[in-house]
């Protein structure tokens, strides 16, 4: 049981050693890490500035938020490196988990106390009056459950990283099977779309 678990955990470093094998990949990933970390370091403290991002939000960056920005930046950069490798290998990539995690981490700073949600919902309320009443409860929930939302975002990013690591390894050790798998997946998507059209 623990052996299986350690096998699973080791998938990520093994895949990373392949994906970051070249100097170019290492440099690109470092650059991506830097860019994502700076962006998150500016976005995450915007919860204290009513959604204003930039130097003004950087003033509210504390050690906890900086650590979170580092974690998010690292997970996104590594996922990107794995995605690049598996794409080159022909196995495709799984951006869903990472993209969802990346979006989720931005909800508290952008929506908590800024006018974005009230303005959006008041526009929607013109068509759907019930939507107007949702603004404050949603903002209140986001503001009071920030840590949980960041936890889920980080978990989704880890899940995205793991999924892409699996693809990298299957592609590296069974390149043909991986590319056939990717093809059959896209084929099944297309068939599902066709089926839906028929209905």
């Amino acid at each position: 049981m623990s052996g299986e678990l350690s096998e699973r955990v080791l998938i990520v470093p093994r895949a990373l050693s392949l994906a970051l094998g070249s100097r170019r990949a290492m440099l690109a990933t470092s650059l991506a890490f830097l860019v994502f970390t700076v962006l998150y370091a500016m976005i995450l403290p915007a919860t204290f500035t009513g959604g204003a991002i930039g130097l003004v939000s950087l003033r509210f960056l504390d050690w906890g938020t900086f650590a979170l920005a580092l974690l998010m930046g690292l997970l996104l950069a590594l996922t990107l490196a794995l995605a690049v490798y598996s794409f080159r290998c022909g196995a495709g990539a799984k951006p869903a988990g990472s993209a969802l995690g990346a979006i989720l981490a931005m909800l508290p700073p952008l929506l908590c106390c800024s006018p974005i949600l009230p303005l959006t919902l008041s526009a929607v309320a013109a068509v759907l009056p019930a939507a107007g009443a949702l603004g404050i409860p949603v903002q209140g929930f986001i503001a009071t459950h920030e840590s949980e939302i960041y936890g889920i975002a980080a978990a989704l990013l880890v899940w995205g990283l793991y999924g892409n690591a699996q693809r990298v390894l299957s592609c590296a050790y069974h390149p043909r099977a991986a590319s056939i798998g990717a093809l059959s997946e896209s084929r099944s998507d297309c068939c599902q779309a066709d089926a839906a059209r028929e209905i």
């Binding site: 976005i43 500035t49 009513g50 908590c112 106390c113 800024s114 009230p118 409860p137 209140g140 009071t144």
Partner: protein, 199 residues
């Protein structure tokens, strides 16, 4: 020959998808346009201009259960700030106020901080506790009045139900600016203090 063609097509698709994924990540990581708005001019909620020639209308509010009226402060510059006690930017704004007490003490500005009617519609702590936790110095400062919105004031001064919004009302009774998040926009309040002259 067919295999080569397949590989070339796969590589092209891979590059496009990879480009799309990177672009998606960059877009997700980039802040929304209104959030970039610098704390200048008439940011409100983030940048709505103050209504031309709009006079501040009278409205009641509650302080320690007693009803007071905006009219009672006629002839004095007022900052009417509506907050929710679960709002992070409101908490940061209180701290910013406490940090700038010297400037405020040198003016005759009256800062009326009111909890949104029914806390904006989401539960949270009492106003006194909220101020005591974030900026206790404001509780007994003669420049500050801490209280609660009435429904009438909330509807008149916060019809969009923003979480964190303030009105700067000149001594002539005109609304000079409507904005939010003093933590990010205190320079606007400082300008207002200078324009209104010192006591």
């Amino acid at each position: 020959m067919r295999e080569q063609q397949k590989t070339t097509i796969n590589q092209k698709l891979t590059r496009r998808a990879l480009g799309g994924f990177s672009a998606l990540l960059v877009v997700l990581a980039a802040p929304s346009p209104p959030a970039w708005a610098a704390p200048k001019g008439e940011m409100a909620p983030l940048n709505a201009p103050a209504p031309a020639n709009a006079s501040a209308v009278d409205a009641p509010f509650l302080v320690h259960g007693k009803t007071m009226n905006l009219q009672s402060f006629k002839g004095q510059p007022i900052m009417l700030w509506q907050v929710a006690t679960w709002c992070k930017s409101c908490a940061a704004g209180l701290k910013t106020m406490a940090e700038n007490l010297d400037l405020i003490h040198g003016s005759n500005l009256k800062i009326i901080i009111l909890r949104d009617y029914q806390n904006g519609g989401y539960p949270g702590e009492e106003m006194e506790k909220f101020v005591a936790a974030n900026a206790p110095a404001l509780l007994h400062d003669p420049h500050f009045i801490i209280g609660e919105d009435t429904e009438e004031l909330f509807q008149r001064y916060n019809p969009h139900h923003y979480v964190d919004v303030y009105h700067l009302i000149g001594s002539d009774g005109r609304i000079v600016a409507i904005s939010s998040a003093p933590s990010a926009t205190f320079d606007k309040i400082a300008q207002f203090i200078k324009a209104e002259g010192k006591s």
